[in-house]
């Protein structure tokens, strides 16, 4: 009998859970001071469960785990925002690195487009991370308030983008390719399984794309959210890449750019394994489950749910920010 990777992962998590609970309960009973009434072991598994749920819901809602994780954690937990943003980047990056392989093996993610977009995205993701540290250090409480307020507004904007983002075009028609893009030679082809044929496509407006990838990088690095929600429209609506290519390429690009942004946070000691490992495991398991459930559940309900959750988190963050100002 051949076990699926998911069953193996579930079995490993179950085994670890049993093992840790059996060894950790004694410790928990000894602890006089426990947050939320939880021992570290229980905290770890509560966050694995929460992040698994975030991963499932995010995939079904058509967004990355990081963009749901960071606003939710910042809005509804007391954990320091610097730590949450650092962890959010690791979460977004880990999910993207795991998901990249099939997209690249099938040629769905355009490697030339990726290397081209990775230059501005990576540079500005680092700038965003450094900016986050600078704001925290120099502006103190005011900086924290500003970050919460801007992130709140941004999250509400993303939710509205999901709500009204129905304009995405599966196969945009490229009427004219500008000279710069022509020289880059970004045109490629991929095998479209559903139609059983090769799709040849061109892209255009790469100079505008450079500028927009810079903006995506700053937002991602500064706020600790993956920027797939912004990069898919840039690839699809601005550069006119087919929707599947846009989605696959943005997923892979997050892994490249957020890697650059996460290192300054690690170097600053902003990652705590007790929190980060639980979140990584949860989101990776959740996105795997979500990807399988995608074809079985009605995504419309989930889509509405994620929009409401994100608007709720956005409003909460904005109110927190205004109150702190």
């Amino acid at each position: 009998m051949r076990l699926s990777k998911l069953s193996i992962a579930a079995a490993i998590v179950l085994a670890i859970t049993i093992f840790l609970f059996s060894s950790g309960i004694g410790y928990a009973a000894d602890s006089a001071d426990q947050s939320m009434g939880l021992s570290p072991v229980a905290f770890f598994f509560v966050f694995v469960a929460i992040c698994t749920l975030i991963g499932i819901v995010a995939v079904l809602g058509g967004v990355g785990g990081g963009v749901v994780f960071t606003p939710l954690m910042m809005g509804f937990t007391p954990i320091d925002s610097f730590i949450i943003r650092a962890t959010g980047l690791v979460v977004a990056m880990a999910g993207s690195l795991i998901a990249a392989r099939p997209f690249l093996r099938r040629g769905l993610a355009n490697i030339k487009l990726l290397f081209f977009a990775a230059v501005p995205y990576t540079i500005f993701a680092v700038v965003g991370a450094l900016l986050a540290g600078y704001v925290k250090a120099s502006a103190g409480e005011f900086g924290e308030a500003l970050i919460r307020l801007i992130l709140g507004v941004l999250v509400i904007f993303i939710a509205l983008l999901i709500l009204f983002g129905g304009k995405k075009v599966e196969y945009p028609e490229v009427k004219k390719v500008d000279g710069f893009t022509q020289r880059l030679g970004l045109a490629m082809s991929y095998w479209e399984q559903s139609m059983g044929k090769v799709v040849n496509y061109k892209v255009t407006r790469s100079p505008v794309g450079i500028f927009l990838f810079c903006a995506c990088g700053v937002v991602s690095g500064m706020f600790g959210v993956g920027a797939g929600w912004a990069m898919v429209p840039v690839f699809n609506l601005v550069m006119l890449a087919p929707l599947k290519v846009a989605a696959a390429s943005s997923k892979v690009l997050i892994g490249m750019g957020d890697t650059a942004a996460v290192w300054p946070y690690i170097m600053r000691g902003g990652i705590f394994p007790l929190f980060a490992v639980a979140c990584i495991i949860g989101v990776v398991i959740g996105t795997s489950i979500g990807a399988r459930l995608m074809f079985k559940v009605k995504a419309q309900f989930i889509r509405w749910m994620i929009i409401l959750v994100m608007i709720g988190a956005g409003v909460k963050l904005a109110i927190d920010g205004i109150e702190m100002l």
């Binding site: 670890i16 093992f19 060894s23 950790g24 426990q34 947050s35 939320m36 570290p40 072991v41 770890f44 007391p78 954990i79 320091d80 730590i83 690791v90 990056m93 880990a94 690195l97 795991i98 990249a100 392989r101 690249l104 093996r105 040629g107 490697i111 030339k112 990726l114 290397f115 081209f116 990775a118 230059v119 990576t122 680092v126 450094l130 600078y134 250090a137 880059l184 991929y190 059983g196 044929k197 090769v198 490249m256 890697t259 942004a261 290192w263 300054p264 946070y265 690690i266 170097m267 600053r268 000691g269 990652i271 705590f272 394994p273 007790l274 980060a276 490992v277 639980a278 990584i280 495991i281």
Partner: protein
């Protein structure tokens, strides 16, 4: 009519994807092992203290000073010298995961050179250098 054949997939992408996937997975496994050890035998940062400080909204420096007894957060690759502790092993795992794209990009660069990728070699080189500089700690958040 002759049936269409799938186009050849660029080897550069496959190299990047394979390296990034395998190393990321390895990193996650190391961090799971580390966290198990951390839960059983504690770590460099006391786990209950870390949890309490995290949940009270303490800053990075406060958590480090309260739970590890140091004056401020240990910066850089602190975990390399603490690998007898579970949290340091878990942190090593996270770092390995974060190195996946760095190594993948260098692999992709080699693939691009071998397939004579023209200006994309330069793009890949720029990204690989930036990622490496970040990973070795030359790009740091100063306060």
């Amino acid at each position: 009519m002759e049936k269409e054949k799938p186009p050849e997939v660029p080897v550069t992408g496959v190299i990047y994807g394979e390296i990034a996937y395998r190393i990321a997975l390895l990193g996650i496994l190391i961090s799971i092992v580390g966290i198990i050890i951390y839960m059983i035998s504690n770590g460099y940062l006391d786990r209950t203290c870390t949890l309490n400080q995290l949940w009270s909204g303490a800053s990075v420096d406060t958590i480090w000073s309260e739970c590890a007894g140091v004056s401020a957060a240990l910066e850089g690759h602190w975990y390399f010298s603490m690998l007898s502790h579970g949290d340091a092993i878990a942190m090593l795992g996270i770092s390995v995961t974060c190195s996946a794209a760095v190594l993948g990009m260098w692999g992709g660069l080699i693939g691009m050179v071998r397939s004579k990728g023209g200006m994309y070699i330069i793009f890949a080189l720029i990204v690989a250098i930036i990622l490496t500089l970040c990973a070795v700690g030359l790009v740091v958040i100063k306060e």
